[in-house]
Amino acid sequence: MKELLITIGLAIIIALLQMVMKGLSRTAIKPKSHGLTQEDTLFWSDWVIAAGLSLTGALIVASNENKPIPTLQVVGCIGAILAGCVFLPFALRTFAYEENAKIRPLPPGGIGWILIANACGILILSSAVAVGVNVYGL
């Protein structure tokens, strides 16, 4: 449980650092004082890839140390990561974007779709970490 909450905290810190680095690397979009747009607040793809890497690492450790793996959970987690890589982009394309790759405004504050996409990403990452914790036997 503690590990899962640490993961969520880390994901947020990394997302904030990403924003800072993107902001520092870009020239300003006038009249704003920085070059960030709402598109930069989408972190779901980073978190889905991190989930894939985390699960792969856990499976390598399990294999090296001859540890048993929770087969059903691992298969489910691979399914969740695949869904995040294949189905989530398709669902977002259908529902979350309008013409010219503009995100559709959805309550609250017009950022509803960004929120949904990020929540899906962090859920997939959490499930991969939960399986990893199970494998490591912490």
Partner: protein
């Protein structure tokens, strides 16, 4: 599949996208439930949604979209 065909009042494309959304949300929740137990999974899901909401809101406030010229 004909993208104009109607399934439960939706086009086939929308129906597939809805099913995709259900899988994307349902699969990780099911894995969490099976791995750490229902109670811990519920806390994690709540924390994950609250955390992603907080980061999205904070980041979005900074990054407000450029006004159309």
């Amino acid at each position: 599949m004909d993208s104009e065909s109607i399934i439960f009042g939706m086009t086939a494309r929308r129906a597939v996208a809805v099913a995709a959304g259900v899988v994307v949300v349902g699969a990780p929740i099911a894995v969490l439930g099976a791995t750490v137990g229902i109670g811990a999974a519920a806390i994690t899901v709540g924390a994950a949604i609250a955390a992603s909401g907080a980061i999205t809101k904070a980041a979005s406030r900074i990054a407000e979209d450029r006004e159309e010229e």
